[in-house]
């Protein structure tokens, strides 16, 4: 049966047909859809775990329990899960354990670019890399088989263009009628990693590598295509597809087992081709493996280390390497056009908080420019300036114009520890940490405990939009919505932070600008830790209520305060702001009338919805 599937859908279906019984993940672009398309399928337990480390630990337990298990995360998620990843490599498994890492070359939706192939080598775990949806489907049954045959977790590594692109998949498998029976065979020497046992397992790991090296030589999805012997291209993943477009007659070695690399196969291919080039995104991982075999090859000399490839980029590299005629120069400078950066949505509950941070003059610790007369009263605050450390989520968009509200964003949960660090360093500013609800559950709890324990007086704003919005509205412990959509138990944020020892806990309506500002002003002046939960639903969840807001041009004096909200519904028509009726969410938000000093914005009564 031919189906049009994204790489992520193909991975999910492949795992399903391989008999996966437990699947865990924390949502993260570009990996999210894998668990989503498994959730609700019969016979598979799926969960959104609180973070990737937990996801992998749950996965280890399930695999120890004998069933086939899938654990899914984005590239930076594997940093969080690195500890159990190495541990799983040491203990091995019982039921197959496959970890999917979806890397994001080009950082379409990530705070960093990293090549997770290194994790396979680092943790001594075999790795498979599909080059399209078909292979994404096909590799999964192999991955589980290798995991069980070699007593090891297996890393399946994809990238954004594999995970998110759709292609035609010949679906030739089906769900096995009988799955592996769950049972835990006690084996302390294998599962209890005290040093005496762990030392023995080290030898098992190295022996495993030797057997894997032999195994991958005949792995059926690696493919050698011998054509023009003048040029041999070694490639994998989506880079292979671009290379096929560019080098139309060359010979190819496409590797799916990118760790360990099949040594004899590479030698045989190298002996067939006069010149070898390795085409791979990000680091020269395969190139170094080939060079280590003493085989001369080039790659990164001509191709970029940074960002994702395209046919054009590979073509340019080929021209640089003298393998192609340089194509006609791209045309003269492209037309200068206004950019369309992503924005917080109309009705977003995060905007008022970020607007408050900015309006209070907090966003710039020290003002250097001229202060407009009407803003002078705020100058005092600005000199004392609050630093807003921030975190990973939609709200990070508040760093852009026109909000300019944030000062840091590094990795999941970092905002709170950073805030405490700034405070302990002795910077004179007040420090506020801004973190989303799902991110707080993911890794904001332990740093908040650190704040309480170490006598910090950080203010933490938890932007609670009651979902994991950025990745497409997954549930998390604060929502009680499970991966399959059913109801679990709710972990209430305010109870949780009180339980951690925070006494000053405030729950504020995320659309009430005045309440947000006054609470903020008070909290930053106290000498104890405080938490402000700014609560309001994500607008993608909520239907607009009441008529849209409208600007009364006769009252508007074009001060543009409303434009500083950065609402996508508000733009300029001539010199007056106007509100797009189809985009405005009406009474669900109400932020723009709160910022208008002329009371020129009100709801239009005559146009019912």
């Amino acid at each position: 049966m031919r189906q049009l599937l994204s790489g992520n859908e193909a991975i999910a279906l492949g795992a399903y047909h391989a008999g996966v019984a437990v699947a865990t993940a924390y949502p993260g672009t570009p990996s999210t859809e894998i668990l989503q398309s498994l959730a609700g399928r019969e016979g598979v337990y799926t969960e959104w775990s609180t973070n990737e480390k937990v996801a992998l630990e749950v996965g280890m337990g399930a695999a120890y329990g004998g069933v086939r298990t899938l654990v899914v995360m984005k590239h930076v998620g594997l940093n969080v899960a690195a500890d159990p990843f190495f541990a799983a490599s040491t203990t091995g498994i019982s039921g197959g354990l496959v970890v999917v890492s979806a890397d994001d070359p080009g950082e379409h939706s990530s705070q960093g670019e990293q090549d997770n192939r290194h994790y396979a080598k680092f943790a001594k775990v075999p790795m498979l890399e599909p080059s399209d949806s078909q292979e994404a489907y096909d590799v999964m049954s192999w991955a589980f088989r290798i995991s069980e045959d070699f007593d090891t977790p297996v890393l399946v590594r994809t990238t954004t263009r594999i995970s998110h692109c759709k292609g035609v998949v010949g679906v030739n498998g089906e769900r096995p009628s009988e799955l592996r029976q769950p049972q835990f065979l006690r084996s302390p020497s294998k599962y209890v990693m005290v040093p005496t046992n762990a030392r023995v397992r080290r030898y098992a790991m190295e022996e495993r590598m030797v057997r894997l090296r032999a195994y991958v030589e005949d792995f059926p999805l690696n493919e050698m295509l011998l054509r023009d012997r003048g040029l041999g291209v070694i490639s994998s993943g989506v880079a292979y597809q671009y290379a096929r477009e560019v080098f139309r007659d060359a010979s190819f070695l496409k590797l799916v087992t990118t760790y360990p690399v099949p040594e004899r196969l590479v030698r045989r291919f190298a002996s067939e081709a006069e010149r070898l080039i390795v085409v791979e995104e990000l680091d020269p991982f395969l190139e170094q493996e080939v060079l280590c075999l003493g085989i001369p090859a080039t790659g990164k000399e001509f191709l970029p280390l940074i960002g994702e490839f395209s046919t054009e980029i590979v073509e340019r590299g080929a021209a640089k390497a003298g393998l192609l005629q340089a194509s006609a120069a791209p045309d003269s400078a492209p037309a200068k056009l206004p950019l369309r950066p992503p924005l917080l949505c109309a009705g977003c509950p995060h905007v008022a908080t970020e607007f408050a941070l900015r309006r209070l003059g907090f966003y710039r610790p020290v003002s250097t420019g001229e202060v407009p007369p009407e803003r002078k009263p705020l100058e005092q605050l600005r000199q004392g300036g609050i630093i807003a450390t921030s975190d990973i989520g939609c709200y990070t968009l508040g760093v852009y114009a026109p909000l300019f509200a944030l000062d840091t964003c590094a990795c999941m949960g970092a905002s709170i520890g950073q805030a405490l660090g700034l405070e302990k360093a002795g910077v004179p500013n007040k420090v506020v940490a801004v973190i989303g609800d799902s991110t707080f559950m993911h890794s904001g709890i332990t740093p908040l405990v650190d704040v309480v324990y170490n006598r910090g007086n950080t203010t933490v704003i938890i932007l609670d939009n009651e979902t994991t919005a950025m990745t497409g509205h997954q549930g998390h412990p604060g929502t009680g919505v499970l991966a399959d959509g059913s109801k679990g138990r709710v972990v209430k944020l305010e109870d949780l932070v009180r339980g951690l020892g925070v006494r000053d806990v405030n729950v504020v309506n995320a659309f009430d600008l005045e309440a947000l500002e006054s609470t903020l002003r008070r909290c930053v002046e106290t000498d104890e830790p405080s938490v402000i939960i700014a609560r309001g639903p994500c607008p993608l969840y909520v239907k607009p209520s009441g008529p849209p807001f409208q600007v009364d041009a006769s009252k508007c004096d074009s001060c543009y305060a409303c434009l500083r909200v950065g609402c996508p519904a508000i733009s300029l028509l001539g010199d007056k702001p106007c509100i797009e009726a189809n985009v405005c969410v009406g009474s669900s938000c109400t932020l723009c009338p709160q910022v208008c000093p002329r009371e020129a914005i009100s709801q239009v009564r005559d146009e019912g919805r």
Partner: protein, 204 residues
């Protein structure tokens, strides 16, 4: 069976990805190898959206190469200009007269371009520029959300597949209550294309 490379561009929320999904499936069901690629993630939130759809005997890259798009379907004018360099020489640009002004133009030295400027940009790459009166059509159909169907209808008039290949897809995928209005929008797009082609004296 000729290769077809299409870029569908617009702004988050316009139905670009839905249209490209439909296009990819129609290709597959009619014997093509198909790949498609969307911009996702952060780019979804009010930013530019681009979908690449490729039909061919065997498709390798999931993305259309710059300068090789046979069709550029722009659901928004500015986005049409932005992606114009992807058009091949003589490729067809279909640009809806929809204007979504990005916040970045406010207080910026780069204003939203006029239609003349957009057309001039497009004409650097092709002489086949069609401006689709989407606002007018949306009003007439009583459904401004059907732009993606109008666009697919327009495109269908340039491709070799029978209309049934497309309408069957609409029937299969849309909830029953939307089928009739979507089919009407599709037909309207196809009719518009035929009329405009005739006006331009285009034979294909």
């Amino acid at each position: 069976m000729r290769d077809v490379n299409v870029l569908l561009v617009g702004v988050g929320g316009q139905g670009v990805v839905l249209a490209s999904d439909a296009m990819a499936e129609v290709g597959m069901l009619n014997g093509y190898d198909v790949k498609k690629s969307d911009s996702l993630g952060m780019a979804q939130r009010g930013g530019s959206v681009v979908s690449h759809v490729r039909w061919g005997r065997r498709v390798f890259s999931p993305m259309v190469k710059r300068g090789e798009a046979d069709f550029l379907l722009a659901f928004e004018q500015l986005e049409g200009a932005r992606w114009a360099p992807y058009l091949r020489d003589g490729g067809v640009a279909v640009v809806a007269d929809v204007v979504v002004v990005p916040v970045s133009v406010i207080g910026s030295t780069t204003p939203y371009p006029t239609w003349d400027e957009i057309e001039r940009t497009l004409c650097r790459y092709t002489d086949q520029v069609y401006r689709l009166p989407a606002m007018k059509i949306g009003l007439e159909l009583g459904n401004p959300r059907a732009l993606n169907m109008v666009m697919l209808g327009f495109l269908s008039a340039f491709l070799e597949l029978e209309a049934e290949a497309w309408t069957g897809n609409i029937r299969r995928h849309l909830p029953p209550k939307f089928v009739e209005s979507s089919l009407a929008a599709f037909d309207r797009g196809a009719a518009e294309a035929l009329a405009m082609k005739k006006e331009k004296g285009v034979q294909r």
